[in-house]
């Protein structure tokens, strides 16, 4: 079960600054555990941000991104109260989707 994300969306002018804390192990598949066994790769593959239902960011992520990453995008033409939804899917087909509304900065 995936832990929830923490999302902040603050409006500055007409640009919403969206910052996301993602809880994910982002295992590269290279690390060995205490017993010496290879830890299988486990990482977010797809990251999508929508603004009032319209996709504004679609990214293919890889093992190169850190554990518990901080992720930020800026959305132009946003207004206070707009709905921002952030969703990810990882290589084990785990999913998580969290949303917030844009607040005045």
């Amino acid at each position: 079960m995936a832990e929830p994300m923490k999302i902040r969306a603050l409006l500055k002018g007409d640009v919403a600054d969206i910052r996301v804390l993602v809880a994910h192990p982002m295992e590269t598949g290279q690390r060995r555990d205490a017993a010496g066994a290879l830890v299988p790769a486990h990482f977010i593959q797809s990251m999508i941000v929508t603004h009032n239902g319209k996709p504004v960011y679609e990214g293919q992520w890889s093992q190169a991104i850190s554990r518990n990453p901080v992720f930020a995008v800026r959305v132009k033409g946003a207004k206070v109260g707009d709905k921002i939804v952030v969703s990810w899917t990882d290589n084990k087909n785990d999913k998580r989707s969290d949303e917030t509304t844009v607040a005045a900065g």
Partner: protein, 273 residues
Amino acid sequence: MKFSNRTAVVCAVAMALTMAGGTAAAQGKADDGLALGRKMLAEDNPGDLWVERGQRLFTERRGPKNASLEKCDLGMGPGVVKGAFAQLPRYFTDTDRVQDLESRLLTCMVELQGFKREEIVRNRFGTLDRDSDMEALVSYIGAASNGLRMNVRLTHAKEREMYKAGEYAFYRRSGPLDFACVTCHGESGKRIRLQELPNMTKAEEMREVIATGWPAYRGTHSTVRTMQHRLYDCFWQMRQPDLGFASDLSVALTTYLNHSANGGEIKLPGVRR
């Protein structure tokens, strides 16, 4: 033409070096560049994820006794987390001991939830393979005191005793390297590699480092670490015998440190290298 271009580049590099050198010498600090990086990190502190998880763990019914921690008395009454961090460690009548946040949580998890003490102690520090509940709970309870000021009172005789013992341990040199806490933390502007060491004999630096220090998200550990871990690691660095989790010595040192930081404004979790 080519030659003059190259000269220009060399000059620019030389100038940059001189400026960098000048800045470092003038401010006498190793990590001014790092300070900026830390400030940026603190804006999006992954430790906030531990705060949320800690809150869930605190209110969820868990353990063999299927109980939440909402009856856990951290010194402010059962289940009250706001302000709890600010006044710990303190004396608790039920255990007849002075306890810091971690040792008190340990008591609650054993007494209220029925967890095995050894199990919690074994999982006290999270690894990449397994998160620690203790680290999440401490993050949550620490953050619940944000904006308040450290206010450890030494009213009970045992609290004063612990403070004295902590102060003694802080200054007492021992071990194969003949180190005390104060060996590294007795002068301003000292560092280990690029890591600046707070001068804990100065009230101002003490307040800052305690009230905004631990629990902190450690980038190199990918998890939140608590004061117990910091002390444990200091003891390892001094090549002392392992500091027992929630041991009297660790609580004594925490009592001394936290009391000396009274008045510091709490802002947790911190974020560290």
